[in-house]
Amino acid sequence: MNSSSFRSLRNGAALILIILACWQGLYWMVGDVALRSPLQTVLFTAKLLASDSFWPHVAETATAFAVALVLSVVIGLAIGFALGINRFANEVFEPMLVTAYSIPKITLYPILLLMFGLGISAKIAFGTIHGVIPVALFTISAVRNIRPVLVKSGRVIGLGPFDMVTRVLLPAAMPEIFAGLRIGFSLTLIGTLLGEMFASQRGIGFLLMNAIGLHNIDVIMALTFLLTLFAGAASTFLLYLNRRLQSPT
């Protein structure tokens, strides 16, 4: 293990300790009415994971998230490559994408619900509209930053459009595209959960909302803990892959 990876490991551990200490401190201050201690949360999470009624909800959320993620990545890459290659089309569409990125997309959810009906397809659509834009925007900039000599060499060899994308553009733009995929991953997760929290009968988001109604703090703490753990771990892993892609040694 070299010194820099040791340092980042130490920093991560220190951060986790600080967060745990703050959490425990807050619990001592607020008490049982509104919070649970870290230990209680972990114990209840274990109980939740062992119960049979919990897993169908996980499966629902996982399915919606997985489909939405695949759609975000495929559509985002397609838009990104189309606009990255065609300068004029990019000038027309990129400002629209940037605007769409910044608007509160949750306001569009009722429209999606009316279009898709209550159920998993509306959640998937909602997750996808969150994830697709960052993937597209990062891909556009990645494709435009490719060294022109690579594209020219491809042309000289006489590659068709498909070979051009798979053999030249994709490998060359991969590190930057991956940064977009990482953001797309988190936004798709957030979109899917938001969709479940607003109008849904199944899934982790629904369980969370249901728990507010029942004032079930155990469940709220356990679910928030699980989601944070999953998102944090996934993001750390993707960040690690991203750094390896950017500095091939």
């Binding site: 920093n11 608007i103 959810y109 989601l227």
Partner: protein, 250 residues
Amino acid sequence: MKPATLWRIGLVVALMLLLEGLCLTGFIDKLTMQPPHVMVADIVHMLVSGSLNAAIAKTLGNSAIAFGLAMIIGVAGAIGIHRFKAVRETLDPLFATYYAIPIFAFYPLLIILFGLGDAPEIFIGTMLGVVGVIVSTMNGLDRVPRVLLKTAQISGFGTLETAWRITLPYAAPYILSGAKLAVAYSLIGIIGAEFIMSSSGMGYEISFAYNNFDNATMYPLIILVLVVAGTLNAGLARWEKVLMIRRGLA
């Protein structure tokens, strides 16, 4: 006007006409979506009658508070963190993963802690924006040339005066990028929280209208939110560009 801009406007107009056509011919039924011209009439009607002014004022007011808090805490926090290398290194993994965590999942917890009302909404809006502000401000502070800091030392500036007169003005374009994020996030946070669970505000009114099939209220409100968010963002982006060009960065 540039041809790309013309094309863009043309495309939006064509899309509107297509929607209008689909709605009028009944391809999209009335319960799903009203024709765009009806939506425009509904917006005018809503704004003139003032029936939802309280909700609009509440949402925009809370977003402004969340934005202000995110900026103040963010900039002050960045200056503090920037001074201590160890603190920064410890917090770096948090900043890197922060936006991957679904902050809205904390909303139920915040409702239990603060009660249903303005406080948990503003908290969510601030929480979403503040890390973006911290990261962009630190990015700006990193770029302050050492010669400026030395000049400040020679002139005998204290910490506050150095920040106020040297580092913050120098980092202004970067702080502005953070402000752009904070505007978007405070709106997303407030409206999202109102949507999920609340008793007033634009997000609440939209979800209430959705539950009652009241498209005459829902669509105008949605469009209003999108227009406000889009306009604020475009305005800040333009200002940022002006600052960047003045610095020779763009």
